[in-house]
Structures are given as structure tokens and as C-alpha cells.
Amino acid sequence: MRQIDPDFLALPLRQLADAALQRARDLGASHADFRLERVRAESLALYDARLEGAMDADDLGYAVRVVKNGTWGFAAGLVLTPEAAAEVAAQAVKVAEVSAPINREPIELAPEPVHGEVSWVSAYEIDPFSVPQKEKVALLADWSAGLLKGADHVSARLLQVKEQKFYADTAGTVTTQQRVRVHPELNAMKAGPSGFDDMSTIAPPVGRGYEYLTNGHYDWQGELAQLPELLAEKLAAPSVEAGDYDLVIHPSNLWLTIHESIGHATELDRALGYEAAYAGTSFATFDQLGTLVYGSPVMNVVGDRTVEHGLSTIGYDDEGVATREFDIVKDGILVGYQLDRRMALMKGLGASNGCAFADSPGHMPIQRMANVSLKPAPGGPSTEELIGGVERGLYIVGDKSWSIDMQRYNFQFTGQRAFRIENGALAGQVRDFAYQATTTDFWGSMEAVGGPETYVLGGAFNCGKGQPGQVAPVSHGCPSALFRGVRILNTVQEGGK
């Protein structure tokens, strides 16, 4: 197992925490927590196999969150001295005092065992920041050059993040954690007789190190070799005929539909209205817990922050809660929400399931998404067998455009490519497609989920939520799945052309 970087451990973590927590206690806070973070991110962008942009950035700072007389107070600082940390704690108390006139719900937190001093490191082999930039650029340039043989332009990017968190609270939990994630992506663009189009790789972002690009964890050569031919076929493909189709959806597309229509809809803060003015609320209101028919009986969804290589995976959340797996939808029925400590207590749900997260030292933790995943059917069908059960339909691969309303009812997604299914067999690509549905209708139309061999962990680095805006990385696992009678739009006709 890898260790936490010594230069992070060399920072005055305990001294700052002790000073801040003591000042918060002295000023009357009933709860206080201290979080110091360093988030390093490097992005590389190539265009037509040439390096176009490289950015190596980090964010370092700390935050103190207090509860004073039942009101939150939060402040963040930069100067790494005990005196400065104590002053930031005092600012947090001041923020609580200024905010008191507009607080009508006293803050209380669900109990959580004191975990003592613990550390956790994600599963990766090669720290991407230990690999020379030149080597990474050379690999991306080589991949791009191959794609350029069949494309007019090729863009490539590699995002790499290392996140280090130190947390301490007045109850006595002290966690030190480190995790790494990478997202390589290539896109090929080409002009054809009816305009231009593009196609991106469907390799998901992962909680791995640089080995994801080099050590056989993903078949890069196979995907890159296919991409120009698939793009050429797409450019020559007919425009889809709008109407209702049966859909077989590959995990590279379905993960995003899960994210938008299940992941966000089962965040309890949304269901309770805390995001009402911004990200929105949820049709899956709390009064329907245990009764809402979310989808068909083959639908089983779990949340976790524990799966290996998951982007949301971590040992302890930003409230010192040990992470775990929990049910969200069981046999098609809503049975659980994603929680933080405040909401878990408020709604009588016992302990939090560990979904508090802040994306930077300057932001207050809010309830963020666990890895929310659709379970495969043990012994279930292969993707080919699912396609074989369709008379007239589409097989959709790769995510692209997405949009969903503020209660998570109505959504519209496109994809990287779609193939017609005729009498159980693929019959070439179509262009200009989008699928549009209402969440419960869509999941209710899910007739079958694929077996474990079709299961892929997809995801994104950049899930947005909250004000001030925060981004969070999250994974979603799912098998291929079959949906009956879903509305397909022709996007050219939608544009009035």
C-alpha cells in the first residue's frame, strides 16, 4: 500500500488543528472541525499531436467550521501558523454570529464514533506527478498522431489530480488521507459531405495512477484503432428517424443517465430543498421513502464511497464519518438517500452514510454524491444477448450531451454513437439522435440488465453543485441494459432545419 507523501505530513497539521479547535472551544463553539487540504492538478492539452496547453496548479489552505449557538460558521485561511489558524477559528465564530439573525433551524449533528488517528490512501501504482511531463506529452502525441491519419483534427487531454486531506474535530477524530485520479481523453473531428462531426474515446476517468495509461488496465490501442473508422461511418450515416425505439445502452453512456436521474435525485439535501434555488430539488421526496416505484423490479442501485478505483471513494468523509455501502433503490423501490450528519439526525435516519465533501480548503462541506451504481444481474445476459432481444431499436455508446430539469424528471441525452438494431442485430450507425424521457418512465421501461461481465465503472471529475459552486469527482458502475419504447429525437429537426 502506498503511503501519504512525506511533504504533506511535514506540514504543521496538528499544531494548526489544535490551535484552531482550542480557539473555537474558547469562544463557545459546541462543535468545531479543522480541515487542511492540498489539491494538486495538472492538465495537458494537445491539438493535432502538439502540446497546446499545460497547467500545473495546486490549492493549499485550511478551513474551520463551527457550530455556535446552533448556527454554522465557516472561515478559511492560508497562513500556516498556529496564530493564524486560531484567528481563522475566531472568524468562523464571527460568521456564525453575523448569520444568527437568519438562522431558524438549530444545527445538530448525527453521532459518529470517534475514530482516533487514522489514515487512508487510494489504490494506485504510479503517482502521475512523478512522471515527467515530457513523457506524458510524448505518449499523448503518439496516440494523437495515430488518430490524425483518419481525422482532420485531434485533441487530447490528460487531467491528473492528487488530493490530500487532513481533518480533526473536537470529538477526537483525526484523519489523514490521500487519493489520486486520472482522466485521459482523445477526440477526433472530421468534415464530411453533410457537415462535420467528432467522436471521443469512451475510456472512463478512474481512481488510478499513471499506470492506467500504460499498464494494460484499459485497451487504449484497441479503442484508438477503431475510432477513425467509427467516425467515418458516423459521418456517412443517415439521420435518425424520430420516434419510439427500444434501446440497449452501453455503460459508457448509461453512467451519466444514472448520475443525473438517480445520483442527484437521491441526495437528501436536494429532496429537502437545500438546493432549491440552484441545482434544484428532487421528485423523490422524503415522504416517498420506501414506497416510490423508481423503476422496474430489475433495478437495484447502491451508493458507496468504498469501491476500489472509484472517484468518490475515500476512507472518511469531510465530517469524519467512515464511508460505507448503502442501498438506494431495491427491486425498483426507493429505499435510501445520500446523507451528511446534519440531515441524518434531522430525518431520524441514525448515522450519516459518509457523503459530506468539500472540493477545496476554501469551501464548506456539503452533501455530495457517493459512487451511485446500478447492479448487474448475476448470470445476466451479455450485451449481444440484450441486442438480440430487440426487433427495432438503437444501441447507444459513449456519453456526450446531457440535460435534466431541476426536479430530475425530464432529461435528454445524446451519445458518441448509435447503431440501429434490426431484428436482433446491429445495422449501422445513425446520426443526430437524442433520447428524451421522464426518469421514472425510463427506469420503469428497463426490461433487463446485463450480467457482471458487461459491468463498467464510468464517471466524471466535474460534478457541479452548491453555492459557492463546488466540483466533485464521482464514479457510477453499471451493466449494459435494455429499455423498451424510449422517445428518440432527431436533433436537426429539433433545430428547425
Binding site: 465557516f74 478559511a76 432549491a276 434555488a277 429525437l489
Partner: protein, 457 residues
């Protein structure tokens, strides 16, 4: 702590590169968030980011670090220098900007914002909560004030500074049963001009309108888009107007067969879309600040003066977002990105209220949400209506309509506008995390494509 000015000078001294640009961003922010007539989260925070851009030959190295201590500075600069020495030649290489001199306020200290900026606002918000509670309304929203001081120095003598205050308030009122909802947002520089009680009153009126519910099917409707909704559509169009991508044939502004669509008429009405760093009320940085190379900005252009720019003038596309490099490739003027956007429709535009009064039958939208690109060739966007769609008949609002998903291209819309009203400062709903400084008109679209009904309310 070392001052940002000292940080710039010291980093420039340390660099062994042929040339160097140093940017320091000192930020401070304060915020209050609320839901259901009570506080949910709050906070104050400071940030300090140092960006060193080293140039060796035509190679560029960029390293950016937060909260850099003086003893760490040599390591940061050395890393940028080393990255520049190893880098491939940059395609957009140009001489660094010279002769821009120093900002008059370069030496002045940074004055951060604090929770005190809400000293008057927070009690007023508390009173508004009480009034809303008494009136059967629940208020949700967010108030934020940030102050960012940006210092740009270069080995060619640049010493430029810009202080950017940015404030915003979003207020969302809902009926007690959460069935009716209305939204208003304002941009402000310091919250002294924010009247939260008046905003709440305007939302209360909209909730009254919504008591009469009218269900309408999907279809094309004559639609009045208010300034906020217009801002969200035009901002996306601005973001899609990079000259480099247009030249590569991959945007709606690409000319079939090569080149760009600059010079082509997009709107039949005399619509002008422009940016101006000195526009009153929405002032923004008057020089280019590029922290990293990208398709739409060049680090070599740092410090380049920004002037008022017409992107669309009298309905004709006149400029795209340029770097000096892309301007040479396209043969068009250098028109870099500017952090505000203004749309006007000629003389004599009417107010939204007057436009409602002259509407025989149509929809009045409050704002648009979850706007995403569907097709870059046409810039077809999809998204939702949100927090109030109203039916207007015979010049009056007669009730609230269900929400819709739309599919529309802002470029195509420009060509179909039948009326452009009087422009006013507004806060975009969807994009105000990134873009708050806009002056926009309400517009009338004769056939807005409401693609499907959304059950959200």
C-alpha cells in the same frame, strides 16, 4: 505575508528564462446561503494564487501554486523555467506585450472583502424572511461578494493591476406547498444597492400570477424571454465564438469550405452584441490576463489592452474571440475575450412590461436552466424553463404554465427575433458562477421550440 507586488518582483528576478510573466491573484469572499427562510451555509475565505509563465525560445512553462511562502518561490520559478526549457515550441509565440506601463494603483495594498459586507443586508434578509413567512412564502437563495485583485508583471516591464468586485444575490420564492416558484437575481458591486424586500415583493406578485394554472402541450410558441434568459443564451454563443476553432471548421461560426462567417448577417433586426471593459456598472479588466495557453487565449498576450468590441453589429457578425495568433491566421482584428456582454436592439426598445401589454397570446419565461450543447454545427442548445412560465393573453398574464424542455440555437434565434426591448443590467441564471456582468434586453421570439413538457414545478 509577502505582498503580491513583492511576489511579482521577486519571481521575475528569480526567473532564468528568456522572458517571464508573473500573475498573482489575491481573492477574498464572503457568502450566505439560505433555504426555507433559514440559513443553510455561510463562510469567508481568502485565496492567493501565484502563476509563473516562463518562456525559453518558443517554449512555455506554466506553474501555478496557492499560498506560496517566500522560501518556496525559487522552487516554483525554477519549475516553470524547467518546463519551458522542455516544452515544444508554442504555435502562438509572439513578443510579450511592451509599453503598457504600470497601473496607477499598482503599489496600493489589497483591501479584502469580509462578512461585514453583509452588515446591512443580513438583517434586511432576516426581516424579509419574517415577511415571507407571514405571507406564506419560503425563500431560498444565495448572496456572495468577492474581491479579486490581479497583478500582472512581466520581464518586459508590465506592471498592471485590476481590482474586481463581484456581488450577486439570487432569490427564489416558493409557495408554502412548494408548487409555485419564482426567481429574481441581481448583480452588484458591494450590496449597498440591493433591496431584498423589493425583490421579495416582485416575486410575491409572480406567485400570485401562478395561482391560476394552465397546462399547455409542447410546441412552438410566441415567447417573451426576459433579460436574464437572453443573457444565458448569448453568453453561450460568446463562449462558442473562438476564432481558432471557427477557422478549423468546427463551430457554428465556421464558413463551409473554409474561413469564418464574419461579415455574415445573423439577425434581421439591428441587434448589436458587444463587450466593453469601461461599460458603466459592469466594469471589468481592461487588459488581457491569460493564466495558461488555450484555444481561446494566449499567454503571450498578457497585458494587451482591451477596447470596446462589437461581436455583432446591426445584425452582422463582425468579430470572433481572438488571440494575436488567431487574428493573423484569420486576417481579422485582434479582439480578445472581455468579461462582460451587452446586447442592444437599436433605438426605442420597450420594457418587458410594455412587451407583455402588447402580446395577444404568448409565453413569458422567467429563466432558463441546465443549458447544454446538442450540436456544435448549429449551436443547438437544450435546456429547461424554470421558476415561472406564464401565459399572456390580450396583454395580461392570465396564469402559470407548466415547464418545458427547449431545443434552440442562439444563432438561429437571432435571425428570428421579432422584437428587441430596452436593455438593462441583469444576472444570468445559469452562468452566474462564471459570468455576472451583462446588460441585456427582453426579446420576443415568434416560434420558440418548446420540445417537451417537464413535470418539474
Amino acid at each position: 505575508m509577502t505582498s503580491p507586488q513583492e511576489m511579482v518582483e521577486r519571481a521575475l528576478e528569480l526567473s532564468q528564462a528568456d522572458d517571464c510573466v508573473v500573475i498573482v491573484d489575491e481573492g477574498s469572499t464572503a457568502n450566505l446561503r439560505f433555504a426555507g427562510n433559514t440559513l443553510t451555509t455561510n463562510g469567508v475565505a481568502r485565496s492567493a494564487q501565484l502563476t509563473v509563465i516562463s518562456i525559453v525560445g518558443a517554449g512555455v512553462g506554466v506553474v501555478s501554486r496557492a499560498a506560496v511562502r517566500p522560501e518556496q518561490l525559487p522552487e516554483v520559478v525554477a519549475a516553470a523555467d524547467a518546463a519551458a526549457r522542455e516544452a515544444q515550441p508554442a504555435e502562438d509565440v509572439r513578443p510579450l506585450v511592451e509599453g503598457a506601463g504600470s497601473s496607477a494603483n499598482w503599489v496600493e495594498p489589497v483591501l479584502p472583502t469580509s462578512i461585514g459586507v453583509f452588515g446591512d443586508f443580513a438583517p434586511a434578509l432576516g426581516e424579509t424572511f419574517a415577511a415571507a413567512e407571514a405571507g406564506g412564502r419560503k425563500l431560498y437563495g444565495f448572496a456572495e461578494h468577492t474581491l479579486t485583485s490581479t497583478f500582472v508583471g512581466s520581464s518586459r516591464g508590465l506592471r498592471l493591476r485590476h481590482d474586481q468586485p463581484t456581488g450577486r444575490l439570487e432569490l427564489n420564492a416558493k409557495s408554502a406547498d412548494l408548487k409555485r416558484s419564482a426567481w429574481a437575481g441581481v448583480a452588484t458591486r458591494d450590496f449597498s444597492d440591493v433591496d431584498v424586500a423589493a425583490l421579495d415583493s416582485s416575486l410575491a406578485q409572480r406567485l400570485e400570477w401562478a395561482k391560476n394554472r394552465v397546462d399547455l402541450p409542447a410546441g412552438r410558441y410566441e415567447t417573451l424571454l426576459p433579460p436574464s434568459a437572453v443573457a444565458d443564451l448569448m453568453i453561450y454563443m460568446l463562449w462558442s465564438s473562438g476564432a481558432r476553432d471557427a477557422l478549423d471548421g468546427r463551430t457554428v461560426f465556421s464558413k463551409p469550405g473554409g474561413g469564418t462567417r464574419v461579415g455574415e448577417r445573423l439577425a434581421q433586426l439591428p441587434v448589436t452584441l458587444s463587450s466593453d471593459p469601461a461599460a458603466p456598472g459592469i466594469e471589468c479588466a481592461p487588459f488581457v490576463t491569460a493564466h495558461a495557453p488555450s484555444r481561446r487565449s494566449s499567454v503571450f498576450d498578457n497585458g494587451l489592452p482591451l477596447a470596446a468590441t462589437d461581436w455583432v453589429k446591426d445584425g452582422t457578425l463582425t468579430a470572433l474571440m481572438q488571440t494575436r495568433h488567431s487574428a493573423e491566421l484569420s486576417g481579422l482584428p485582434v479582439t480578445p475575450s472581455i468579461d462582460n456582454l451587452i446586447m442592444r436592439g437599436g433605438e426605442g426598445g420597450r420594457s418587458l412590461e410594455e412587451m407583455i401589454a402588447s402580446t395577444e397570446r404568448g409565453l413569458l419565461v422567467t429563466c432558463l436552466w441546465y443549458i447544454r450543447e446538442v450540436d456544435p454545427q448549429t449551436l443547438l442548445l437544450t435546456g429547461l424553463t424554470r421558476d415561472g412560465v406564464y401565459l399572456v393573453e390580450h396583454g395580461e398574464v392570465v396564469g402559470e404554465v407548466n415547464n418545458f424542455r427547449f431545443n434552440e440555437s442562439p444563432v438561429d434565434l437571432l435571425g428570428r427575433l421579432s422584437e428587441v426591448g430596452a436593455a438593462q443590467q441583469t444576472l444570468p441564471r445559469e452562468w452566474n458562477d462564471y459570468f455576472t456582468r451583462t446588460i441585456m434586453p427582453p426579446v420576443r421570439v415568434p416560434d420558440f421550440n418548446m420540445s417537451t413538457v417537464s413535470q418539474a414545478n
